[in-house]
Symmetry: C2
Subunit: 214 residues, 2 copies
DNA sequence: TTTAAAATCCCCCATACCGAGTTATTCAGG
DNA sequence: CCTGAATAACTCGGTATGGGGGATTTTAAA
């Protein structure tokens, strides 16, 4: 019989959240549920990082706006120290910029604070089971990020050329890959520049990326 | 009092699925639930496209492997004709390639056929409510696609340079943006090429993208 | 504190690339 | 039949790129 305080199948959780009411609420909910155990709670990333090795959490619930280091930075540092830790962002902010920064930094889930409490427990299980818990809006943002603008001013050939250009290929290489003359590619690119109202490769790629033409 | 066959708040659904058992199962489930209505079911995209204007569905449930046009192509054509239609892919295949192709083509959700039946109804409501229903594995794939390789051989400065290079910027532009000399950028790029064992910009970007270094 | 890695800068060279301007042919779809 | 799309050709001047060499300074790790 094991003498540890929690059974081995318990999911070890840390909470990083500056609002003590929310922090304690989460801790209470999680600790009060069989199969979960809160190792520690913190009001800032700095403290959480100090004890990360000792706490050895499976899942970290992470706020974004925090005193000192913000949550995005914190995610990066936790992932660097312990790459297998699963991090779920829990915040009130749901704007594109923050969502993508958090995911790029290594977050494996993204929820908003107005979720029903039981959703939190589901999410922790979901991320441990190989999923990626997301709020409705975040899921949509993420999926939409794959989709192109359907009102592109570019023809399909022009889009094709611009895509290859954005991969760093030269006019000659593109010409070879598309089995046409280099001059044809030059003409396509001139037309692309004219349509996008730009005067260089970098501007074209920037504009096309921003408007999701490629 | 309205004389239409379904109340205005009913979600109009079409099913495209070549297995008649599954197709009829879905239709029965959806039509048997208040607030949902199946407009039509099809065994191939071609037929679904012919009646798309008439059916005017809010949501299309789309299989991938189909006789004739495959589901990915079908998604693109439906979105072209009626961009506001929400499409949920329902398939047995969950590999990266198919998932990303489907999302790029315009799918707004992606589920597997082994889901519990009620999940289908939830998913239809979810996508109509601005969400993006995904199976556990698909959600994880999608989130992981934002994350970089944490074992990059490149230094942070080199990564920064390669990122700007991949945006189509020239050595001089990169130098200006990073407030260093062009010669410094050239050295960084030489080191990047050496580390990645490549000999050109395009190769470097290709390799870095594949290994998620940028 | 010694060392190694990272970041910075400089030179040469030859080729290929790029942006701008202009014109023109072929072909498919409405 | 006419427009848009894709294709191709020409010139011109300047820039970018890849490869070679060497050097210094700053930072981080051992």
């Amino acid at each position: 019989m094991s003498l540890t305080l929690s059974p081995p199948q318990s999911i070890k959780v840390c909470v990083v959240e500056d609002d003590s009411v929310i922090r304690d609420g989460f801790a209470l909910l999680i600790n009060g549920t069989h199969g979960f155990r809160v190792m520690n709670t913190y009001h800032c990333c700095e403290d959480a990082l100090k004890n990360l090795e000792h706490d050895d959490p499976d899942v970290v619930l992470m706020d974004i706006e925090l005193p000192g280091m913000n949550g995005i930075e914190g995610i990066g540092k936790i992932k660097k120290l312990k790459p297998k830790t699963n991090i779920i962002v829990i915040t009130v902010y749901e704007n594109d910029d923050l969502v993508f920064k958090a995911l790029c930094a290594g977050a494996g889930g993204y929820l908003t604070k107005n979720m029903p409490p039981l959703r939190l427990l589901e999410a922790i299980q979901e991320i441990q089971g190989g999923g990626a818990p997301m709020s409705t809006n975040v899921a949509r943002m993420v999926v939409q990020s794959f989709q192109k603008n359907r009102n592109s001013p570019l023809t399909s050939r022009e889009t094709e050329v611009l895509e290859l250009l954005s991969k760093g290929k030269s006019y000659s290489t593109i010409a070879d890959e598309l089995f046409v003359d280099k001059e044809t590619i030059r003409t396509h690119i001139k037309n692309i520049y004219w349509k996008l109202e730009v005067h260089s490769k970098a501007e074209a790629i920037e504009k096309a990326t921003k408007e999701r033409l490629i």
